[in-house]
């Protein structure tokens, strides 16, 4: 019996060691809302990536995507591509709003959007089209 209790205390001591890491200067992005949007964007990316590559779709300064070169998309696929772009922009808007909301600063939404806008562009693959400061399309 005593041995058992001793074992248990030992076990307890070991298990009690772990704790919650405190949130430091990071923005909170681990919420179900953000995860849902992120998951939906990640799924859509497999469809968007070839369009970025072909230059049909580009990344705008304001953290959105836009149809840059409609002529490169066959008419039969135009609707699907437009829908894809609209859905992506809806998700992006929701993402920026949710991040602001998750950090208890809804008023940060615009700044989060512009930060993302810059980062999407900075990290775009070469060959993709992005908007420069004058909002004209530039091939990376």
């Amino acid at each position: 019996m005593k041995l058992w209790i001793a074992k248990c205390f030992l076990l307890m001591a070991v298990l009690a060691g772990g704790g919650q890491a405190a949130a430091q200067a990071n923005l909170e992005i681990n919420t179900p809302g953000i995860a849902a949007i992120q998951g939906s964007m990640q799924k859509r990316h497999t469809e968007l990536a070839p369009l970025y590559g072909s230059g049909a779709v580009g990344l705008t300064r304001d953290g959105n995507v836009a149809l840059r070169d409609p002529a490169s998309v066959p008419l039969a696929q135009r609707a699907a591509v437009n829908t894809l772009i609209a859905a992506e922009n809806q998700d992006r808007a929701a993402l920026y709003r949710e991040i602001a909301r998750a950090n208890n600063h809804p008023e940060w939404e615009a700044e989060i959007r512009s930060t993302f806008g810059q980062r999407w562009i900075d990290r775009a693959q070469s060959g993709w089209y992005t908007q420069n400061a004058a909002s004209t399309w530039v091939k990376k």
């Binding site: 849902a36 008419l75 135009r78």
Partner: protein, 659 residues
């Protein structure tokens, strides 16, 4: 017409002005104007040897104007029968080869323009009773020549070839037979575009008493069009219409649209030009194939909704009438219409038939019958929808939909739409549905009992769904009640649900059996206050589980103890296997209690109320023989980690280890 006459006049003027064979004669006309037409600074130079030049300083035709137009004729033949220029050049924006002839005795003018290889525009004027007959023939004509005349708001034409003829008779009749091919247009945003379009156009205009009678027929023979969000391919669709025009209103007396594979529609109407309004109109489309209609016309509009990907069949007939006050009447007849959520199988309705006679200003009743269907893969039985309609208000006194062995009841459904948008509400519930069938169909652990739930009042305004009163259902021999239920942004990307949930007197034996959580006999109450789900995942709540008051057998199996322990980590579960406790199958208990207050992804845990020990909290308080007490020590756990552990336990991944 006026232009042609003026042209001839100017030409004659210049020709008859020439007398003898002088070296050079220059003739100047200051101004020629007509309706929508003016020419200034006309100069005619006749050089010996047949070379002639006509210059126009400024020419205005409609909205378009040109400067410094010059017509050179290398060899102007002046003969008894007439004048001819076989090899001329018109200098407009570009050099256009031209030839013309005029037969003086017959007064017939022929002008041929060849602006490009394989492109010919031919004008023929001949005298007729009461005026002149004019014909224009075009072969390989580029539609881009019309570009300057087209309004800038339209998508821009970028290709197209025109063949055919337009005939004008002196009595006012006009007939046109034209064939356009390889027509293309696009706007900058790419939202409206057409490629390789082929059209056959046949039109006649005929003056009648004080109106003009017209009829036209256009057949779409080739190509494709994208007009956001609709994409259509040519399938010999034919639009025909005939009617009258009196200068004030355009009247379509008989119109028809034939869409091979989909169906035909007939229409008529009157468009008031001054009011810019359809003052009267009627459309009827009998026996349209729903599948074709859905695929080629409706689907693009439904993208992103529940109805984005359906399998459809059946036929629908529709008739509608509008007047100056708007839509007046819609009659829809459904014939064995079926539709089914193709990929995800969330819903289906089979053999929907009936009439929907809607009137803008009268109360009517729709009689719709449904032979069957599916909801979340559960079969629906036959039912009728007696929908009462009155303008923008729709009511359904009672709708009873058989589901599995029970039914869904909808009572006092009211929907209306006004300037602020839509609004609907209903009361109802489900009853008599066997939980085992229900849970099996949903693919969740099988539960027993019957599902009975009442929905006191469900209201939707914009994207918020609100349930007034309590939603209650009877399961596990007890009751579950959800209060203050609000669903926000339900069709959005991250729907939010708020509710307070109270469970009473649940039979723990049934619960634990259902979720393969060992075996606990007894009764349990539970409250979940301030439950908030985002995207159907909990982000916030304050939950408490506690043994119900009263006398009932209280037993907990070893497997259940192990599972509760395992929630504290795999090590604790293994520990029990090494102790003598493994020799007992069952233990007695006095109280079970557990609380979890979820906030910011961390669950703050507690145990049986009033039983806290200095080193921890009591989850199972022992009682009877042999008794067991399960204690928790750490009060905080990451919600995700707790979920993972519950999953492992209920999926039976932790097998008893017998040493």
């Amino acid at each position: 017409m006026r232009l042609a006459r003026l042209c001839v006049a100017a030409l004659l003027l210049c020709l008859w002005g020439i007398v003898g064979h002088t070296q050079q004669i220059t003739l100047t006309v200051d101004d020629v104007t007509g309706a929508g037409f003016s020419a200034q600074g006309i100069r005619l130079t006749f050089v010996g040897g047949g070379t002639t030049a006509i210059e126009i300083g400024a020419l205005k035709f409609g909205e378009q104007s040109w400067k410094n137009i010059r017509l050179d004729c290398n060899l102007l033949r002046l003969e008894r029968e007439g004048v001819a220029c076989d090899d001329g050049t018109l200098m407009l924006a570009e050099k256009i080869p031209l030839s013309f002839s005029y037969l003086t005795d017959k007064r017939v003018l022929n002008v041929v323009l060849k602006p490009a290889k394989d492109e010919t525009w031919q004008l023929n004027l001949r005298p007729a009773k009461g005026g002149k007959d004019v014909s224009v023939k075009v072969a390989g004509g580029s539609v881009l020549r019309f570009l300057p005349w087209l309004p800038g708001s339209m998508p821009k034409l970028n290709a197209g070839v025109l063949n055919g003829a337009i005939e004008y008779n002196a009595d006012g009749r006009i007939s046109a037979k034209l064939n356009a091919s390889n027509l293309g247009f696009a706007d900058a945003a790419g939202l409206h575009a057409g490629e390789k379009i082929g059209l056959t156009i046949d039109a006649q205009v005929e003056p009648a008493a004080d109106t003009i009678r017209w009829n036209t027929s256009v057949t779409w023979t080739g190509g494709e069009v994208f007009w956001q969000p609709v994409y259509l391919k040519a399938a010999l669709q034919q639009l025909s219409a005939e009617g009258r025009f009196d200068g004030k209103a355009l009247r379509v007396e008989r119109g028809s649209l034939k869409y091979p594979g989909v169906g035909d529609a007939a229409f008529s109407g009157t468009y008031d030009l001054a009011a810019k309004q359809l003052t009267q109109g009627r459309v009827s489309a009998p026996s349209i194939r729903v599948a074709a209609l859905y695929e080629s016309v409706l689907k693009p509009f439904l993208d992103g909704t529940l109805f984005a990907d359906l399998r459809t069949e059946g036929r629908v007939s529709a008739e509608a009438e509008v007047n100056a006050n708007g839509l007046q009447r819609v009659d829809v007849r459904l014939e064995n219409v079926s539709f089914e959520d193709k990929a995800q199988h969330r819903f289906a309705l089979f053999d929907v038939s009936g009439n929907v006679p809607w009137r803008a200003e009268a109360a009517t009743q729709a009689d719709i019958t449904v032979k069957g269907g599916e909801l979340l893969k559960m079969p629906l039985g036959a039912f009728a929808v007696p929908l009462a309609m009155n303008g923008a208000r729709f009511e359904l006194k009672q709708l009873r939909v058989p589901l599995l062995d029970g039914q869904i009841d909808v009572r006092d459904f009211v929907a209306r739409s006004d300037a602020d948008g839509g609004y609907w509400q209903f009361t109802g519930g489900v009853s008599g549905i066997s939980m085992d069938k229900f849970t099996a169909a949903l693919g969740v652990p099988v539960m027993y009992g019957t599902l009975d739930a009442t929905l006191p009042m469900v209201r939707q305004e914009k994207s918020t769904l609100r349930v007034d009163g309590a939603l209650s259902l009877k399961v596990f021999d007890g009751t579950i009640e959800a209060k203050n239920l609000v669903l926000l942004d339900i069709f959005g990307k991250a729907p939010r649900v708020q509710a307070d949930v109270v469970m009473r007197n649940l039979n723990l034996e049934m619960v634990t059996r259902t979720y393969s959580f060992g075996n606990i006999s007894g009764r349990m109450d539970s409250t979940i206050i301030g439950l908030e789900l985002v995207n159907w995942e909990p982000v916030k709540f304050d939950a408490r589980l506690a043994s119900s008051a009263g006398n009932y057998p209280r037993k907990i199996s070893q497997a259940a103890v192990q599972n509760i322990s395992a929630l504290g980590g795999a090590g604790a579960a293994a520990a029990i296997q090494r102790s003598f406790l493994r020799f007992f199958e069952q233990f007695g208990y006095d109280k079970i209690g557990w609380g979890c207050k979820l906030q910011n992804t961390v669950c703050e845990m507690s145990g049986v109320a009033g039983e806290d020990k200095p080193q921890g909290y009591v989850i199972v308080k022992g009682g009877g023989i042999p008794a067991i007490t399960v204690m928790g020590y750490n009060r905080q756990v990451s919600w995700q980690e707790l979920l993972n552990r519950i999953k492992r336990v209920t999926q039976g991944n932790i097998k008893p280890i017998v040493e």
